[in-house]
C-alpha cells in the first residue's frame, strides 16, 4: 500500500496557472544563488535578524518590518520632464484635485500608493507583499517608501506602519486603486482586525480620467455598454510621460518571483520588483500632475478633441455644468471630421452636450444637438433612439408640434427591437394619435361653428 504522501502526489497535479516563465524552485535549494546572499538557517531563526536582505535590497528593519526608502532628486528626468517640474506643477494645480474625487476634499499632501500582490483574485489568501508609497519632498525630489513582507507572520507589523503612513496623507492617489489596491489592503487590515483608515481618505483614482483622456478608441458611442479596454500604466508612461523602461519585470511574473524569494530566501530577484514599483509610483505622480494641469487650464490647453471631451466629463461629474458645456462645444469644434460624418468623439460630445443643455433648460440648444446627431451617417441605433425619443418629447411638450412629435416617435419605433423601447414608443404614438384626433375634432368644431 502506498504512503499517504504518495497517494496525494497521485492526486495533486502541478498547478497549471501561475508560475510565469520562472520555474518554481523547491524549498531551500537554489543552486544559482551567489552564496553570500543565501542564509536559510538565519531565515529560519528570525527573518528580522537577516542581514542579507539589507545588503541585497538596500533597506532597513523598522519595528519588525523591512522598509526600503529611496529618493529621486528633483533634477533627474522622468520622460519628457524633470522630477522637480512635475512636483512644481502638482503643487500649482493641487487645488483642482477635488474635481477628480467627485468633490471630496482631496488636498495635499498626496500619497501615491501602489501595491505588488501575490495574486489578482483577492480574497483572504491574496497578500500585498509590497506596499509602495510615494510623495514629493519640499525640494521637489520624489521620495518612495516601500514596505516589504518578508514572512507571513510579520504582516500585522507591516500594516501598522502603512497605517501610520496613510494617517499623514491628505489624499490617496492610485492607478485603479479604488477597484484593486484599496479593497485589497482593506481586506488585509480586516484580516488582522485593524482599522482601515484608507476608507476615510479622499481617493484620486487616476485610471478612469486617464482612460477618458488618453485611451484611443475609448470614446464609446454606446457609452452604457462600454467595454473596459486596456489602459495600462506602462502604456501611458510611454505615450504621455514619454519615459522608457529597460529591464522591467513583466507584471505577471511578479507573484512567482516573490514566491521564489519566500521559498529560497534569495532576495536578489526582488530588486527588479522594487524598481518596477518605484517607477509605477513616479509615473502615477507624473500622470496626476498632467491631469490636474489639464483641468486647471481648461479646454484651451487640450491637445485635441478627445482631451476636450474628457475635460467635459470631469467638469460634469464635479457638477461644473457651464465649464462642462464649454468643454463639449470645444470638443465638437475641434473634431477634424466634417459635420455629418461618423466620429465617435463628436457623437459622444453632442450627446452629452444635449443632456447638459436640457439640464440647464436650454431646450432648443439640446434639440439642435439631437438633430445634429441624427444627421450623422451610421449613427448607432441606441443613440438614434435616444435622439428621436428626446425630439419627440421636445416637439410634443415644448413646441407642441404633434405632427413632428409623431414623426420622431415612429422613428424611435424603427430604431430598435428592445421590447421596453417599443412599448414606450407605441404608448407615445397612441397618446399622440389621441391628441391629434382631439385637435382635429376641435378644429372641425371651430369650423362648424
Amino acid at each position: 500500500m502506498s504512503t499517504l504522501a504518495d497517494r496525494i502526489r497521485g492526486i495533486v497535479r502541478p498547478p497549471a496557472a501561475g508560475g510565469g516563465d520562472l520555474p518554481l524552485l523547491p524549498a531551500h535549494s537554489n543552486p544559482t544563488n551567489p552564496p553570500d546572499l543565501r542564509d536559510p538557517p538565519a531565515l529560519a531563526a528570525d527573518a528580522r535578524a537577516w542581514p542579507v536582505l539589507e545588503r541585497a535590497l538596500g533597506g532597513e528593519w523598522r519595528s519588525g518590518c523591512f522598509v526600503i526608502e529611496h529618493r529621486r532628486p528633483a533634477g533627474s528626468r522622468h520622460g519628457k520632464e524633470a522630477v522637480g517640474q512635475v512636483a512644481e506643477r502638482l503643487d500649482r494645480t493641487a487645488g483642482d484635485a477635488p474635481l477628480l474625487t467627485h468633490g471630496k476634499p482631496a488636498q495635499p499632501p498626496f500619497l501615491f500608493l501602489d501595491l505588488e500582490t501575490t495574486g489578482l483574485n483577492g480574497g483572504a489568501g491574496t497578500l500585498a507583499f509590497l506596499v509602495g508609497c510615494g510623495w514629493f519632498d519640499g525640494d521637489g525630489s520624489f521620495v518612495t517608501r516601500q514596505f516589504l513582507l518578508t514572512r507571513f507572520q510579520d504582516e500585522r507589523l507591516l500594516l501598522e506602519q502603512v497605517a501610520a503612513e496613510l494617517a499623514a496623507a491628505g489624499a490617496l492617489v492610485s492607478f485603479n486603486g479604488k477597484s484593486f489596491d484599496a479593497p485589497l489592503l482593506e481586506t488585509r487590515f480586516l484580516f488582522h482586525r485593524l482599522e482601515w483608515i484608507g476608507g476615510r481618505l479622499p481617493h484620486v483614482d487616476v485610471l478612469h480620467p486617464a482612460r477618458r483622456f488618453w485611451t484611443p478608441g475609448q470614446v464609446a458611442v454606446a457609452q452604457p455598454f462600454r467595454a473596459a479596454s486596456s489602459c495600462s500604466l506602462q502604456t501611458l508612461e510611454r505615450q504621455i510621460v514619454g519615459a522608457r523602461r529597460s529591464g522591467d519585470i513583466p507584471g505577471f511574473q511578479i507573484p512567482a518571483r516573490y514566491f521564489q524569494f519566500i521559498r529560497s530566501g534569495d532576495a536578489a530577484p526582488l530588486r527588479a520588483i522594487l524598481e518596477h514599483n518605484r517607477l509605477d509610483l513616479l509615473t502615477l505622480a507624473a500622470l496626476t500632475a498632467r491631469l490636474l494641469h489639464l483641468t486647471r487650464t481648461g479646454p484651451d490647453g487640450a491637445r485635441d478633441a478627445r482631451e476636450a471631451l474628457a475635460l467635459g466629463h470631469i467638469y460634469a461629474s464635479a457638477g461644473l455644468d457651464d465649464r462642462a458645456q464649454a468643454a463639449y462645444r470645444h470638443a465638437i469644434d475641434r473634431c477634424r471630421s466634417p459635420r455629418g460624418a461618423y466620429d465617435g468623439v463628436r457623437i459622444d460630445a453632442l450627446r452629452r452636450l444635449a443632456y447638459a443643455c436640457r439640464r440647464a433648460r436650454m431646450f432648443d440648444a439640446a434639440a439642435g444637438c439631437w438633430m445634429e446627431l441624427l444627421e450623422i451617417r451610421g449613427c448607432p441605433p441606441l443613440i438614434e433612439r435616444e435622439a428621436t425619443e428626446a425630439l419627440a418629447i421636445h416637439n410634443e411638450h415644448r413646441r407642441r408640434d404633434l405632427g413632428a412629435a409623431k414623426v420622431f416617435a415612429l422613428r424611435t419605433l424603427e430604431s430598435g427591437e428592445a421590447p421596453a423601447w417599443k412599448a414606450a414608443a407605441q404608448h407615445r404614438i397612441a397618446r399622440l394619435d389621441r391628441k391629434l384626433t382631439r385637435a382635429d375634432e376641435a378644429r372641425s368644431l371651430q369650423f362648424d361653428a
Partner: protein
Amino acid sequence: MLPATTSRADGALDAALERLGGRELDRPDTPDLPVTAVRRLPAVTARLAPFPDALDERLKQALRARGIAELYTHQAQVIEHALAGRHTVVITPTASGKTLCYNAPVLDAILRDASSRALYLFPTKALAQDQLAELQAMCETIASPREGGEGPEIGVFTYDGDTPQDARRTIRARAHLVLSNPDMVHSGILPHHPRWAKLFENLRYVVIDELHAYRGVFGSHLCNVLRRLRRVCRHYGSNPVFLCSSATIANPRELAERLTEQTFELVDKNGAPRGEKFFVFVNPPVVNHQLGIRRSYLGEARRVASEFLKRNLQLIVFAQSRLATEILTTYLKDDFEGIPGAPERIRGYRGGYLPLRRREIEKGLRDGVVRAVVSTNALELGIDIGALDVSVMAGYPGTIAATWQRAGRAGRRSGRSAAVLVASSAPLDQFVVRNPSYFFDASPERALIDPDNLHILVDHIKCATFELPFTAGEQFGRHDVHEILGVLSEQGLVHRADEQAPWTWTNESYPADAVSLRSISSDNFVVVDITRDTRVVGETDFTSGPSTLHPKAIYIIEGTLYQVERLDFDGRKAYVREIDCDYYTTAISYTRVTPIDVFAEGAEQTDTVGAELARPPLARPSLARPAVPAHGEVHVVSRVVGFKKIKFYTNENVGSGDLDLPEQQMHTTSYWLTIPPEVIAQLPFASDDRRDGVVGLAFALKQVAQLLLMCDAHDIGISIDSGDQEVAAGTITPVKIFVYDNYPGGIGFSAPLYGVHDELLAATQKLIADCPCENGCPGCVGPIGDTGPFAKAAALRILDLLIGSEEPAF
C-alpha cells in the same frame, strides 16, 4: 371498514380510494395484484408545550401576534437545547413547524444582543428564497409597534450566486441573518472572510436545513466546508451552535455529528398533529408475461391522479424525470384543463422554470386555484405549497426517506389524506412494490459520507490554507494534514519557513474556484449546442462524460433532445445539435477492476444498514457460505466501447454502434463478492448460460445495493471479473463481482455494503425469485435481450448455493 367520514373532502377521498381498490383495510399484502398494499396511518393529536421561560418576551409577543400561542413539544425541546448552547438536530416531517425550531433561538439571540449573527444553509437557492419571505414577515412583526412589536430592525438577506455585486457590501454590513448555500459559503464567503468579519466574530448559530440532502459527495464536501467555517470562526473568536433539521433517515444524529464533528442532541419525537393518512402501493398490471412488460406506469399514474382530480381533490404528482413531468402534465391538462383563458388548474413544476413562474405556481397551490401540480423532486424539499389532499408518486423515489417526504406533501393537520406509489418496471420499484413491508416496516436509509476522501480533502486543504495559514499543531480531518501540506509544498502551492512556522498559501490562484461541491473532480465536459449559434447548454462531470456524451449519443435537457455530433475529449467539449427522434441511447462500457489493497475479507460483519433484513449472525449456517465478500481499494479502468439505441416508452432496442474512446482510470473503493469455482462448477448450465447468470446476478445486485446505500444509480458501478483470460478453456476460475464507488477515492459506500453482505444477497435473491417474469426482465436480472434465456434461473441457482440455506431447486 373505513371510519365515519367527517367532511366532504374526506368523503371524496374515500370514494376515490375505493375506486382504486384501496378501500379494504387490514388486508394482507398482495404482491401479484395491481394494488399490492394499503396501509392506514392513524391520526395523531398535537402535543403542546408552553414557550420556554428563557425566550425573549418580544419574540413571544411577535409569535402570539402571528397566531402561535403555544409550541409543539419538539419545537420547545429544540429551543431549550439551543438556548443552552447545545448542538441539536431535529427530525421533522413535512408541515411540523420546523422553521420555528431554529428561527426562535436565532431571533432570541439577536433580540438580546443586536450584534449577534446567524448563517442559514439550504441545499438549494430556491429554498433560501422560500425561507426569506417567512423570516422577513416574522422580523417585521417584531419590529412593528402596530402589531405589538417593539424590537429592533433585523436584517435578513439571501446571499448566493444571484446576489448582485453592488448589493453584497450592504448585505455584509447589515445582515443579521444570512441565508445562503454551501456552494456560496465555499467559494464566496469563506475565501473572503475578512470582509465578513462582523458575521464571523458574532456568529451565534449555524442552521443547516434539509440535513439529509448532504450525503455522498455533496455531504463529504460540506463536512470540509464546515471544517473551514469552524477554523475561520476560531480565528474571529466565535463558536457557533449548530441547529440542523432533517427528514426521517436512519442516522440523523450520526450524520449531523459527522458533518460538523460536534456532539449533538437529537429531537425525534414530533409534537405536531397529523390527520389520518392512507398509503397505497399500485403496480401496473403485466401485459406481456414472457417479457415481463407491465402497463406504462405513467399511464397508470395518470389514471390514479384522475380518480382524485375528478372528485375535486387537490394533489401533487411526483415524476422521476423532467421528461416524465412534462408528459404527465400534458396528460392531465388534456383530461382536466378547463376552457382556454381560465386560470390554469394543472401545472408542471421543475428545475429550469423561472423563479417568478415557480412563485406563481406555489401561490396557486396555496390558494387552491391550482388543483394539481406535476413536479420533479424540486418540490420534495420544504418549499411552502400548503397542505394538499393527495400525493401520487409516479415511480419509486429511490429511497425510503424521499418517499416519506414526498408522501408528506399531502396531509393536513386534520382531515384525511392519501399517498399513492405507482411503481415503474425498474427493479428497485418492483422490489419495493412487491415487498411493502420492506418500505413500511424497515427503518429508512442511512446517509453516508466520507469527508476524508483524499481527493475531496486535499482540495479543501488548499482552500483552507488560502483562507488562514495552517499552524504547526493544527488538525484538519482524519489524515495528517501536515503530510498533505508537505506534498502541496512540493508543488509550490504552500510554504512554511520552518517546522514551527505556519503553512501559507503561495500561489496566485483562488483555489475555491477549482472545486465544485457537487462533484469530486472539477474536471468536466461542457455541452455546446451548435444548432443555431454556439451556446453552452450543460455540463457533465469527467467520469460520466464518455458514457453520456459519446458521438451519436442522445443528450436530453428539459425535454429537448440533442444528438452529440463530436466529442472533443482533450478539449473537454461535446458539440450537440437539436434532434427530433423517438429513442435515447445507453452506452456499453467495458470496465475492469483490479483490487489493490484489501481492507477486510471474509464473513466479518461490521455494519448494520437496515439490520431488519439481515438474519441474526448466529442463525447463519457457517459451512454452507462459500461466497467470500471483501472490500478495499481498487483500480478501475473503463472504456466506452459502443452504444445502444432504446426506443422511448417501449424500451425496445432499435440499433447500436461502436465507439473508440480513450480509457478512463481511477482509484476508488469497492465491495466485491467472490464466487468460488466449486459453485460455478455445480451449476447445471452450459458455460454461456453460467456467464449470463453471473451477469444477471450482478445487474440485480447493483439495484439492491443502490436500495441499501441510499444512493443514486450513477454513484456505484458494477464490474465482473471472470478470472484469468489465459486459463485454458474448460478450467473453471473464481468469478468476482465488484460493486465500486463511482468516484475517485471512493465516497464511503464500500465498507457499509460489505457490512450488509448477507442482507444484500438475501434481498437480491428475493428480488429475482419474486419477480413474476419467466426468464428475466428489466425488473430483476435485466432485459432478456441483454442476457440469455437462462440468466434468471442461473442467477437464482448461484444465489441458492451462495446463501446455502435454501433447498436446491433442481
